[in-house]
Symmetry: C2
Subunit: 332 residues, 2 copies
């Protein structure tokens, strides 16, 4: 008699049509999809690109999804992210912009596999070279989220923003990326909050993550966005000013709230600088499309609203899956 776990596994294998994978620097996420592109299984691991040598990827992938596979035949695996980087599984060379987002799979590479249960396709990232109005830039992983946006809205034109450690801003025209810019905002925030003189003054990131629900924190955040928007050249002075404020400002609350308020201000300074750069030629009548997790998108929406912009939002995970679906369709 089959156990319910065995029955579940058998059901997945019966339904499984292909597998979608987002292989990041620090983790790996896989989705099993049926013939209607519906998710029938999901699994994660912490084996990101930084933890793996090139010859370890196949093993880790099979460890994660092996139970889903049918007894015979080959299952396609569409992979986006750092597995296709130079230091990943196999380098999928960047496609230079302008690039149609429904043609990413044209740049896919297939690593040599030891087994034959899987057919693996690593999607390329995007690059941009220096020109009259552009500068060197790269992305890897985010192009698939942008493809997901285009899968939803095939002729999307406008500005898309993917907040994160290395935030990306992309200009899309009729489904192509024409140019893009990366802002070091998230990494800058983490370095300043954890390693600089400011570490004595701002709360830890995990404590700061939800601080915008507090009105004092919210005000500190939005006023910092406004200040930097008016005078971006004062960024590095406003950073030290946080420390001085911690030492001198009798009106700051005491205890944990103090660190949260200063963290909110630091966040507003870093994000405010990014927005001032990214939006400087943007008319305010067209909303900016944010793609990412809810907390970060809400933070960016608050900042963008503060300087006069409206936003739309697409969930980051939804976008990745939709992009991998689009790439899989283009391949087949």
């Amino acid at each position: 008699m089959e156990s319910s776990a065995m029955r579940e596994t058998t059901e997945i294998a019966y339904q499984l049509a292909w597998i979608a994978v987002d292989w990041g620097s620090s983790n790996l996420r896989a989705w099993g999809l049926d013939q209607h592109d519906q998710v029938v299984a999901q699994a994660n691991s912490d084996k990101g690109m930084l933890s793996l040598k090139a010859d370890e990827y196949e093993t880790e992938l099979l460890r994660l999804v092996g139970d889903w596979l049918p007894a015979s035949g080959q299952t396609d695996v569409m992979v986006c992210g750092m597995a296709g980087a130079r230091q990943g599984w196999l380098e999928a060379a960047y496609l230079p912009v302008p690039t149609r987002l429904d043609q990413l799979s044209q740049g896919a590479v297939t690593p040599t596999l030891r087994g034959d249960q899987l057919g693996v396709y690593l999607l390329p990232g995007l690059s941009q070279t220096r020109g009259t109005a552009t500068h060197f830039d790269v992305m890897r992983g985010e192009e698939t989220q942008l493809a997901g946006l285009v899968a939803n809205t095939p002729d999307f034109s406008g500005l898309a923003c993917l907040p994160g450690t290395h935030a990306k801003w992309a200009t899309l025209e009729a489904g192509s990326v024409t140019q893009f810019t990366t802002y070091l905002t998230g990494e800058l925030y983490q370095l300043l909050a954890n390693q600089s003189v400011l570490k004595h003054s701002v709360s830890t990131p995990s404590a700061a993550r939800n601080n915008l629900n507090d009105p004092t924190c919210r005000e500190a955040f939005t006023s910092a966005v406004r200040e930097i928007n008016e005078a971006p050249e004062l960024f590095s002075s406003r950073l030290f000013g946080l420390r001085a404020q911690d030492l001198l400002d009798g009106r700051l609350p005491a205890g944990d709230t103090r660190g949260a308020v200063l963290a909110a201000r630091l966040s507003g300074l870093a994000i405010g600088l990014e927005l001032t750069g990214a939006c400087r030629k943007c008319p305010t009548d067209k909303p900016i499309m944010l793609i990412g997790n809810q907390a970060l998108s809400q933070r960016y929406t608050l900042a963008l609203n503060t300087i006069g912009y409206q936003t739309q939002h697409m969930d980051g995970d939804t976008a990745v899956l939709a992009g991998l679906r689009l790439a899989h369709h283009a391949l087949k």
Copy 2:
């Protein structure tokens, strides 16, 4: 028969009138001065404020200068820097600007000593509170260098810049500091070069220190200063751009020079941002007074010249000593 070392020690003790000390976060420097304020002895140690508890300062000071002291009587020790910080020997509370730089000793504090060979005076730092055109800020140690500037040029009026980990810009009017601003430039550079994604691309700071002698590095530095001066809001995008340039730019030199060129560019971006903020209301017809070591002052001069400013230079050590002299005179 006296050895020459003993004779030398005896001579110092015979000449010694007072002692000047610059007690920083990471090191301690002491000068023995005669009745004409000429240096007759000098000694350093690596016991900065970060290495000492409050009750260890007297011991360390005596260890360093004990040999200079006469057999009897009390020798004044004028101390500037972090020994007067809250986490130092004894807190010498900040004097709020505007402050006359020839009156710093009015805020000096005297720690309780176990012995009676020394009379120690810890000089205060300066603070600034938030106002219409000012923001919270603090300095500790640099005020004494500014006092040294004023000792040289009693009615100095204009802008003084002290480059460093936490660069200070001070507005002086007739010998007083009326306002000042700290820029996190040096610390920002170090964090980005050593801890961020850029660490893979830029040379180590020690290698980068003298890179401006190379024409390609010089050009990378000055063009970065110009770029940020024109568009400071692009700072966090230009940071990531360094990494992308390392990956994509076929025209970059290979090997060690590559890292040096990118380090020069990073330096230009960070310093350029500071200058854009600090000089935004400054007419170009008045030179800016740089106080600091030669290498850093030359770097700042190159950057300032690039955006249209002239500079004068006062050596940092000369300034500290002159400031401690001025403070000692005011006390006596």
